[in-house]
């Protein structure tokens, strides 16, 4: 197993290299010029050109790319064109809020979606099943920002239970940290919950028709034991896969959620960087997201071996 994990980690290097080349090339050919944004509306073309020179944006593609790769190999993601702060520091500032949001969303999803999916499968065809799946379709169809606004209206403005916006770090206390994340996590989690609930139901339906489930029932095992110990464990592989794939959904959804709830996370940093053509920041974030995604896939593969002992690498 250890050698497999090491092999997979080594295999991420060419993937990251391809991503790096792709992102750098894409940004190089994309329209827009950070020097123009920096110089402002009143600037002369000469001013813009001098800023481009000072930022090194007028150098040939290969020189720029080579320099960037060389810095990355030395653990330096570069410096933001606009803030003059190291990209790694900017990502570090934003990692906490995004990570918090994703963790809370992930836990919420697993806590809500898996039981819902199991119950729906258990009561397949019944009213309960239809209600749960109806909610799933609803959750799947609603855009994140609509859910976000609705939640903010009800729980922040009407009931005044929770704040409308912002983020408080965990170091300031558990509740202050959590209260800022509850509404965004629900908004972001809606689609994810719907997806996982549907997959859980489908996987469970298949497992519940297996002979060993009938045997378990014949042996007189309790319904809970059958569903959550025997059936769920055997249905876990597709569920784990979807939860993993869903992390990509979360990353995309976080961009909108962080804007709606004014959370200073990586999603907002991404949008700001793209709109201003802050190339080093965009490149740093894309690399980070790619790495996270590769890492999540690796974790999923490892989890497979835990939920299904037949899988060995």
């Amino acid at each position: 197993m250890l050698s497999y994990i090491l092999r997979r980690i080594v295999a991420t290097l060419p993937v990251m290299a391809i991503v790096a080349l792709f992102v750098f090339s894409l940004l190089y050919i994309a329209p827009g010029d950070p020097a123009v944004v920096i110089a402002g509306d009143q600037a002369s073309p000469e001013d813009v050109e001098r800023i481009r020179q000072s930022l090194g944006l007028n150098r040939p593609f290969l020189v720029q790319f080579g320099g960037w790769v060389w810095r990355i190999l030395h653990g330096d993601l570069g410096t933001s064109i606009f803030t003059n702060l190291p990209v790694s520091a900017m990502i570090g500032q934003r990692l906490g809020p995004t990570l918090s949001l994703m963790i809370v969303t992930l836990l919420l999803t697993i806590a809500v979606a898996v039981p819902l999916g199991v119950v729906a499968a258990w009561k397949a065809g019944s009213l309960i099943d239809r209600v749960i799946m109806g909610f799933a379709v609803f959750g799947f169809s609603l855009p994140v920002f609509v859910v976000g606004y609705m939640l903010a209206y009800i729980f922040a403005l009407e009931l005044e239970w929770l704040p409308v916006q912002g983020y408080t770090p965990l170091s300031s206390g558990f509740w202050p940290w959590l209260e800022n994340l509850i509404l965004p996590a629900i908004a972001l989690g809606c689609v994810y919950i719907a997806l996982v609930a549907r997959i859980t139901r489908a996987a469970m339906l298949e497992v519940l028709q297996q002979d060993y489930i009938r045997t378990a029932k014949a042996k007189g095992l309790g319904q809970g034991g059958i569903l959550f110990i025997h059936a769920l464990k055997n249905a876990a592989v597709p569920i784990v896969t979807v939860i993993g794939i869903g992390i990509a959904l979360l990353i995309g959804g976080a961009v909108v959620t962080e804007s709606v709830f004014a959370i200073p996370g990586l999603g907002r940093l991404t949008i700001d960087a793209i709109l201003r053509r802050d190339y080093p920041v965009i490149q740093g974030i894309v690399l980070l997201f790619s790495f996270v995604y590769v890492l999540v896939n690796l974790m999923i593969d490892v989890v497979y071996t835990l939920v299904d002992p037949r899988i060995r690498y």
Binding site: Q42, S54, E160, R268
Partner: protein, 533 residues
């Protein structure tokens, strides 16, 4: 249901919910000594000479002081300067600094700091560049006195040092001001009334300013950038909120105290909330602009440009930008900011009265236009440019023009508009923007009205008549001469259609009623603003 409806619904419901509010929300509880402010944009960098965005300038006015400050009557007043003398021939200016001025690091402000700061500023600022071109020497005489010797008089010297247009003549310590003007500074030490808390800065999310207790305000009453800058709170937090509905909800919920520029759609909701005050923020407003490329057909022919002006309805543009609130806009048959001393309507008849589409079509045909595509750059991520773009597309189609509507983002417009290649080869025929009214009160900061061909702003208009009157204004010795020059300038610029003004519009600002001392002006002024619990 579209997104705008959802926004209004949320904010509206919030307004109703809070109409009878008395208990504070769970999220409230910030100290009355902290003012929480939602700025117009993200403070992405903090070098007011290197980056000239308004948001940077606005924050910089707290941290860096200026030698002179513009007041609400648009006159320069002494700020860091105690006195000045100018020789009879107008070529040698001697300035003396106020005693007791200190930087945030405890060092006194010395003349050498001023010299280094003005040197850096004059390398980037249009007026600074004009002074630099005339400069013989700029030297520190002693710690509190410095001298600026010119080859010929520059009557607008004090205005240049006082103006609020970006970049302002901010004074920094010499070691910082010696930074290349095309590179960013890395230390944010000024002598203004607030210190910048660099450690708490999260670009894109938050910027914090703390009261500078050693600041010695002037004794005069504060007026815009002039007078005594008395800070009445300990801390000002800028909280960036990209989503207007979130900002509206946060203001209603008491999570923020002051929102610089609420969008027009949400203002009715805010007005209904008894805890919130709403008023026009900047009386100098903004001027909408439809900018044509004078280098290529069809707009290289003045008849085509005039045809557009004849057909253009400013009301259509203004309603598209600010909605149906007629208090927020007015027609503008000229280029200069209404209700300011130099406002002029001379030559503005072409923009007045009923729009004559038939005459415009005839003039367009005379210009030789024969259906070639007109590349219209429209930034969709800026509500003002998007609204103008939609109106223009309709206008040009009514004129029988073949519109190549390029829907893109502001970053792309920003770089593409600098292209002087033909429209079919990466260039363009027209784009939209808007100018802050504060930049359009006279020709000094008003780059967009200049018409010196290759050196002019994007579109590169060439109008010798306009340029002649710009020079006349700079040489004018009194207000009457200035007004006369501006009248002639307005006419020349409209005759040649330097650009098409699409109207004058205002915007609101909103704050909680426990905040007092907010004044109208071209930027948010934090001195004199206090907050009760």
């Amino acid at each position: 249901m579209d997104r705008r409806t959802v926004l209004k619904g949320l904010a509206g419901a919030g307004g109703l919910a809070l109409t009878g509010l008395s208990a504070p929300a769970i999220a409230q509880g910030a100290s009355a000594r902290t003012l929480r402010f939602v700025p117009q944009a993200n403070l992405a960098n903090f070098d007011p000479i290197w980056g000239t965005q308004y948001v940077v300038r606005n924050a910089a006015t707290m941290v860096w002081d200026t030698l002179y400050g513009i007041d609400s009557s648009l006159q320069p007043q002494r700020q860091m300067v105690e006195s000045e003398e100018v020789t009879d021939d107008g070529t040698t200016w001697t300035f003396k600094l106020r005693p007791g001025l200190k930087f945030h690091d405890g060092e006194p402000v010395r003349s050498k700091d001023v010299v280094a700061s003005l040197t850096r500023w004059s390398a980037r600022d249009p007026m600074g560049l004009m002074i630099k071109a005339l400069q013989q020497e700029l030297t520190a005489v002693d710690d509190r006195t410095f001298k600026w010797v010119l080859k010929q008089p520059f009557p607008k010297m004090l205005y240049a040092l006082a103006k609020n247009n970006s970049p302002c003549g901010f004074i920094m310590p010499e070691r910082i001001a010696q930074t290349d003007p095309f590179k960013q500074i890395t230390e944010y030490v000024g002598s203004g009334p607030m210190k910048f808390a660099k450690g708490e800065w999260v670009p894109g999310a938050k910027a914090v300013f703390e009261k500078f207790t050693d600041y010695v305000p002037r004794q005069e009453k504060a007026s815009w950038l002039a007078g005594g800058k008395q800070i009445l709170v300990d801390r000002i937090e800028w909280i960036v909120m990209p989503d207007p509905a979130t900002a509206a909800a946060a203001l209603q919920n008491g999570e923020v105290d002051w929102w610089e520029n609420p969008i027009a759609d949400l203002v009715p909701v805010l007005k209904k909330n008894k805890n919130i005050s709403v008023d026009i923020g900047d009386p100098l407003g903004n001027i909408g602009s439809f900018r044509m490329n004078h280098l290529f057909a069809p707009f290289n022919d003045v008849r085509a440009r005039r045809a557009v002006l004849m057909a253009l309805s400013q009301e259509d543009y203004m309603r598209a930008i600010v909605g149906d609130d007629t208090a927020l806009w007015k027609p503008l048959p000229g280029f200069f900011t209404p209700d300011t001393p130099l406002y002029s309507e001379v030559g503005g008849e072409i923009l007045k009265g009923k729009r004559d589409l038939d005459a415009a079509k005839k003039l367009l045909a005379e210009s030789g236009y024969s259906g070639q595509p007109v590349t219209c750059l429209v930034a969709q991520d800026q509500p003002i440019t998007k609204a103008q773009g939609d109106v223009t597309a309709d206008l040009l189609k009514k004129l029988g023009m073949n519109v190549d509507f390029v829907a893109t983002d502001w970053g792309t417009v920003g770089s593409r508009r600098a292209q002087k290649t033909p429209p079919g080869q990466g260039g363009w025929n027209m784009f939209h923007t808007w100018h802050a009214g504060a930049d359009c009160i006279n020709p000094a900061p008003y780059t967009a009205v200049r018409a010196n061909g290759d050196k002019a702003w994007f579109g590169w208009p060439n109008s010798p008549g306009t340029e002649k009157e710009v020079a006349s204004w700079f040489e004018a010795k009194n207000l009457d001469e200035e007004k006369a020059a501006i009248g002639r300038l307005n006419k020349a610029a409209l005759d040649d259609v330097v650009y098409a003004p699409t109207g004058f519009f205002l915007s609101y600002t909103a704050w909680r009623k426990n905040v007092s001392g907010i004044t109208k002006g071209p930027l948010p002024f934090f001195w004199g603003v206090s907050k009760s619990a």
